[in-house]
């Protein structure tokens, strides 16, 4: 078609084009190709293969797929972050060790008013600390389990450091474990690394008292604090 019907500006073009056109008559042995192609087509025809075959990613599908992935990840993130974090005994024991060891992020306080002021500065939404003015206060700080914060106040009882951790029940929840009922009030108890802990919920506030005192003593103390 071209070699003869097109107008060639250059005669050499015509000569080369004519020679190239002859290549079309080159015999192409398709025997092996045909066998492989038929096999591939039979796989392609199989209904099961069509089910497992990945869809072709057109730009629109790619955008839709990206949107779906982002939405799913966002939903998963929202669900995970909106659920309260579980305060396991191991995590609480670690928090206790940090709270009593006088880490730089802890602030020494001498009164509950001072502790309240420090907490308000560090975490404006922190729960209101209970009045423990008859205890010897040591320090206060803010700790985190995952992305959820808890206010920690450390003081001395029976010459032993005790830490009171407080958070919203929407942020922190007690782990499943042994429950003790005292005066009709349920306390969840736990222990890790030699640290005992007693947890309770009052008016939407989760609180945990932890230290190396016996569980019974901690229950008595948390009961007093609650009142």
């Amino acid at each position: 078609m071209n070699a003869d019907s097109n107008n060639f500006d250059n005669p050499v073009d015509r000569v080369v084009a004519r020679r190239l056109a002859k290549l079309r008559s080159t015999t192409v042995d398709t025997t092996a190709f045909d066998t492989k192609l038929r096999e591939a087509l039979s796989v392609e025809r199989s209904p099961n293969y069509r089910l497992i075959r990945w869809p072709v990613l057109t730009p629109i599908r790619a955008v839709a797929a990206s949107f779906l992935v982002v939405t799913t990840l966002s939903l998963v993130f929202i669900i995970l972050t909106s659920r309260p974090a579980v305060a396991t005994p191991q995590k609480l024991a670690a928090i206790f060790e940090n709270a009593v060891s006088g880490q730089p992020y802890t602030t020494k306080v001498s009164s509950i008013q001072e502790a309240q002021a420090v907490m308000r500065r560090k975490w404006p939404e922190s729960p209101i600390l209970p009045d423990v003015s008859d205890m010897q206060l040591m320090q206060c700080c803010v700790h985190q389990i995952g992305r959820k914060k808890m206010a920690c106040l450390t003081f001395y009882v029976d010459q032993q450091p005790i830490t009171l951790a407080m958070a919203s029940v929407h942020d922190i929840r007690s782990p499943y474990g042994e429950v003790r009922t005292v005066n009709g009030q349920e306390y969840r108890i736990g222990s890790a690394e030699g640290v005992n802990m007693v947890m309770s919920e009052v008016d939407g506030t989760w609180m945990c008292l932890m230290g190396r005192l016996p569980i019974e003593r901690l229950i008595t103390l948390i009961n007093e604090i609650r009142q």
Partner: protein
């Protein structure tokens, strides 16, 4: 149960119908696809692989083919797009750019000339002295885009407009690439002839 059987039977009928159409329209063109792929790529296994992928894609997307339009051009478009996809992924893994293919193709060779009838006859004789395999080998040394142009315009003898559609470039670019390609190919063969001492 009966409904399921009817659906399966219908599905089978549809698949058979698709295959019948494929056999009728595209199967006879498989040698064109295979030949173009083999002329385009030196490695015959890669060429066969490319041709097979092209035919399978044609089967998959047959519903996008408009009956009555140029089936050969449609297949060659798929072949070219499949080749580009492969080159892109190869370039990505080798951190190369595809742009150089086009830029080399569009560089001017500066080999403009006017031939006398006598010289032209010599060129024609020279072209005929080379076996098809030697011409193909020389063709395969040309830049990718030039090769495509010569394969579509000269070997398959497609209209410039059809080749332009397949390559997604203006007709003028096809024409200039065809001219440049023929000149480059002639030069390659002249050099080869000198090596063989066919000419001085």
């Amino acid at each position: 149960m009966l409904n399921e059987e009817t659906q399966q039977r219908r599905k089978k009928h549809e698949t058979d119908e698709v295959l019948r159409k494929f056999d009728e329209i595209f199967w006879p063109l498989r040698d064109t696809v295979l030949r173009t792929a083999r002329f385009l790529i030196r490695n015959s296994a890669d060429a066969d692989d490319l041709a097979q992928e092209t035919m399978i894609k044609a089967f998959r997307f047959m519903n996008q083919f408009q009956p009555g339009t140029d089936a050969k051009a449609w297949l060659l478009s798929i072949l070219r797009n499949t080749r580009i996809d492969r080159l892109r992924s190869a370039a990505k893994s080798a951190s190369l750019s595809l742009d150089h293919l086009t830029s080399v193709a569009d560089q001017t060779t500066g080999l403009e000339y006017e031939k006398t009838d006598d010289e032209l006859e010599k060129v024609e004789d020279l072209m005929e002295q080379f076996a098809d395999t030697e011409i193909i080998e020389a063709l395969q040394t040309l830049p990718e885009e030039i090769r495509w142009t010569l394969l579509l315009v000269d070997v398959e003898e497609l209209e410039f407009a059809t080749a332009a559609r397949i390559m997604n470039i203006p007709v003028g670019t096809v024409k200039s690439r065809a001219h440049r390609g023929r000149t480059m190919l002639k030069e390659k063969l002249v050099n080869k002839a000198r090596d063989y001492r066919l000419i001085r």
